[in-house]
């Protein structure tokens, strides 16, 4: 293995002629971070960059496991089940030299709970943040909250005095016409210091020599040059020609080419995201079909027939080039409540599907519009297109309406679509998160992404009870019951779990993080 590796490294050194030393990592992905303000955008590329510069109390490492960051240990308070206690790391300084203490944490969490923050929903159960001493934080919730800590893994800590000095105590709002200092500057405790940034063009990070974990983590990358490259072909070309060392989002069709190129490697890992179709099963009649006075999707047999018509293996093999894992439930495998039996329950049986359609009275089929994003998930449009062909086999004529995400997602939100594609990632790694948004009937607080019109009062009660159920075995049993109903009712048609692909120069050593967030302090180079 070692022998095989040396010539590759030599070849790589020969091809990278741009005079970059071994510690610099040139990184490209499709999108740039939108803002450096840590609470303004809860979105992948934004928190990915923030993770290099700033730190939360606790974080997920490259395997997805929860590990200490600015808190060394934490747990529910012995005296009050509504309180979580965090002991903070001592001797930590911000990039500008200021000392980190509990005042900064209280300030940051309070800031993240203001109306303009994009993280406030994750802290919705928090009543108060207390700082009883310089290195202890207590978070008070409105009831016992067993999964509260999971919500903090992207909740970054800012320096209070820096924010006050630079008039950045408020999260960016769009009304005033002026930007906050924090949108373009950052002062964190993280492993890398922001040395220059031109949004959408180039961001340069250099190693933080005073980082508390400098001996604990590899920290072999000393400089990161981050350039977003939107166009897929251009991004792959940049990696193939040695202009960048590391790209996220390699198009699945180019994996073989990248992998076969000397000095380049592709690494893949299952992603924390499941792709599925939702169907309007609640309305008496549909707007987007050709059946008058009835809703074919309200019939369980039709929904089951549609699921049976989808050949997930063919999609995996041809559309995804093997880079997907066919799904039977709408939960990624990492999530508490996922079970292997349900997830492998999807089958393809066109004959059975046809007879179910006939039983339901739709032997001649019907026509319906499928709304699909074309710039959100891996090969989203191609998956929808393949499904159109498969549904045509059982007589359902599907009109494919593929649109950019900014036009697609409002259709789900405003209940204008009857048949749509959606993908779901679970940042808390718990089924409750899925139920709250996708299974609970749509209302003010819950079910905001449930476009299926599915809703059962008893299920709603169970879902709401999950938040404060501290008896974990009992809670897991409840989760399983809810899943059983979701499966039996075929509320959704699961398609597959996405697989993440990172392409990199062979000297870059890392595993692929399931949340697609590369944390460079874990990267090794050789």
């Amino acid at each position: 293995m070692k022998l095989h590796y040396l010539p590759l490294a030599a070849a790589l050194l020969a091809t990278t002629t741009l005079g970059v030393n071994a510690e610099t990592l040139r990184w490209a992905r499709a999108g740039d971070s939108l803002t450096l303000d840590p609470h303004a955008q809860n979105e992948g590329p934004t928190s990915s960059l923030a993770h290099q510069i700033m730190e939360p109390l606790i974080m997920r490492d490259m395997t997805g496991a929860v590990v200490p960051a600015l808190a060394t240990d934490w747990g529910p308070s012995a005296s009050d089940p509504n309180v979580w206690v965090f002991n903070l790391r001592k001797g930590v300084t911000f990039h500008d030299g200021a000392t980190f203490d509990s005042e900064d944490v209280k300030f940051s969490l309070d800031r993240a709970m203001t109306p303009d923050s994009d993280y406030k929903e994750l802290l919705a159960s928090v009543v108060e943040v207390r700082a009883p001493s310089s290195h202890v934080i207590e978070i008070v919730t409105d009831g016992p909250n067993p999964t509260m800590a999971n919500n903090l893994t992207n909740m970054f800590i800012m320096d209070k005095s820096w924010a006050e000095a630079n008039n950045a105590t408020k999260v960016q709002d769009y009304e005033g016409g002026e930007n906050t200092f924090a949108a373009t500057h950052a002062n964190g405790t993280g492993p890398y210091v922001l040395s220059s940034r031109e949004p959408d063009v180039k961001t340069v990070l250099t190693i933080n020599k005073n980082y508390w974990g400098i001996d604990e983590f590899p920290m072999q990358v000393t400089e990161v040059i981050y350039t977003p490259i939107q166009n897929k072909a251009t991004r792959v070309a940049a990696l193939l020609s040695g202009e960048v060392d590391f790209i996220q989002d390699v198009p699945v069709q180019d994996l073989a080419r990248v992998g076969d190129t000397d000095g380049l490697e592709v690494r893949t890992a299952p992603q924390n995201r499941v792709i599925f179709f939702g169907m309007n099963q609640g309305d008496a009649d549909l707007k987007n079909d050709n059946v008058d006075g009835a809703n074919p999707l309200a019939d369980l047999r039709v929904r089951q027939a549609m699921s049976l018509a989808i050949n997930r293996d063919a999609i995996k093999q041809v559309v995804m080039r093997g880079q997907s894992q066919p799904a039977g439930m709408i939960s990624p495998p990492f999530v508490n409540g996922w079970n292997a039996e349900m997830d492998s329950s999807s089958m393809t049986d066109v004959g059975k599907a046809k007879s179910l359609m006939a039983e339901a009275g739709y032997g001649d089929g019907f026509s319906i519009t499928l709304n699909c994003p074309n710039d959100r998930y891996i090969n989203d449009e191609a998956i929808c297109q393949a499904s159109v062909g498969m549904l045509a086999q059982i007589g359902i004529k599907v009109n494919l309406d593929a649109k950019p995400k900014a036009q697609h997602f409002p259709l789900i939100n405003t209940l204008e679509t009857d048949f749509y594609m959606l993908g779901w990632g679970v940042p808390t790694y718990d089924s409750e998160y899925i139920f709250n948004f996708l299974v609970h009937s749509k209302g003010e607080k819950y079910g905001s992404w449930n476009g299926t019109r599915f809703g059962q009062a008893d299920i709603d009660v169970k879902i709401e009870a999950l938040a404060s159920e501290t008896d974990l075995p009992k809670r897991n049993a409840m989760i399983n019951e809810i899943w059983q109903v979701v499966q039996d009712e075929q509320v959704y048609i699961p398609i597959h779990h996405q697989v993440l692909n990172w392409g990199m120069a062979s000297n870059v050593k890392t595993i692929v993080a399931p949340d697609d967030a590369a944390k460079f302090k874990y990267f090794e180079l050789n």
Binding site: N311, I368, Q385
Partner: protein, 314 residues
């Protein structure tokens, strides 16, 4: 006038046409002949696509996803089926898809140019002939039009049209949106040329004479001025046709093209370019060659036409 024309014997007229300058120049230009034959051939293939094509790529029920990415001429590893030009990512026979796609591209191109031409000629004639405020308003609208990239126009029309079309017709709607969007961004150049020519023509003696005889403005514009500005219009129309076909491809790259279930040549190229690095060259190569052959022949034809119709070059 038509009746007198018809009463004349047919054969001499044909002979007159055959020996006219235009046709003479055409007969003696190998480039013009070749490109004309190419355009005709491709157009015929497009029109009769349903008869020529071995598969119906627009009928999703006949597709087998497992046929996807079959290389040209070699049997698919799973299904054993074989395709002349291979298949695309959805398992569609590429040869059939190109024929059907060309049909859409040509239809969109022709219709968009016709639309742009009709609007442009009308606007140009009226602006040039009437002058004054009418002219000002029309030419300023042209300025506004120039500012808007076709992609925005396409999105606007798409948004509005969505509200009015029944579900079953939404697939076809995209085609009409493309025609409107390209046609609307195309009319300005016709209008400018026609207006310019009209300004020159309207001061000439024959127009003054017609006016003195008491002919109406409309009659003068259509009967007297229009025939005299047709040569530059014809040249622009030919070049515009090539441009419209390419514009459709570009819109597709920006995400507002023909639907992937009924791809045009442009959509096929947009899809195919994603497979340039991965070795499935045929998905890009064959549609791109077809587009190139089509646009190149139309352009060459337009080129020849420009030279042939330019009296100063003879």
């Amino acid at each position: 006038m038509n009746t007198t024309l018809l009463r004349r014997p047919f054969a001499p007229r044909l002979r007159a046409f055959w020996s006219s300058d235009l046709v003479w120049s055409f007969r003696h230009s190998p480039v013009a002949l070749t490109s004309f034959i190419f355009v005709c051939l491709l157009t015929i293939c497009a029109i009769f696509a349903p008869l020529i094509a071995p598969h119906d790529p627009f009928n999703p029920a006949t597709l087998n996803l497992m046929n996807g990415f079959t290389p040209p001429g070699t049997p698919n590893a799973f299904t054993g089926e074989s395709f002349v030009l291979g298949t695309d990512d959805q398992g569609r026979d590429l040869f059939s898809t190109i024929l059907f796609g060309m049909r859409i591209s040509l239809f969109v191109g022709f219709s968009a140019v016709m639309l742009g031409m009709v609007i442009g000629i009308t606007a140009g004639l009226v602006a040039g002939y009437k002058g004054g405020w009418t002219e000002t308003i029309i030419m300023r609208i042209a300025d506004v039009q120039l500012t808007f990239p076709a992609i925005l126009v396409a999105m606007l029309i798409f948004g509005i049209a969505k509200g009015f079309t029944p579900v079953e017709y939404r697939d076809q709607m995209a085609i009409w949106v493309l025609i409107l969007a390209i046609g609307l961004s195309d009319w300005v150049q016709f209008a400018r040329v026609v207006r310019g020519a009209t300004l020159v023509e309207k001061n000439k003696e024959y127009v003054q004479a017609a006016r003195l005889v008491g002919r109406s403005g409309l009659a003068i514009m259509v009967r007297h001025i229009l025939p005299n500005v047709l040569s530059p219009v014809l040249v622009i129309a030919t070049i515009s046709l090539a441009l419209a076909i390419i514009a459709e491809a570009t819109l597709s790259f920006l995400g507002v093209g023909a639907p992937p279930t009924q791809p045009s040549l442009g959509t096929l190229i947009r899809i195919g370019q994603g497979f340039l690095f991965s070795g499935e060259w045929w998905i890009l190569f064959f549609p791109a060659c077809t587009l190139l052959a089509l646009a190149l022949s139309v352009n060459l034809l337009g080129d020849w036409l420009r030279d042939a119709l330019n009296p100063r070059l003879r």
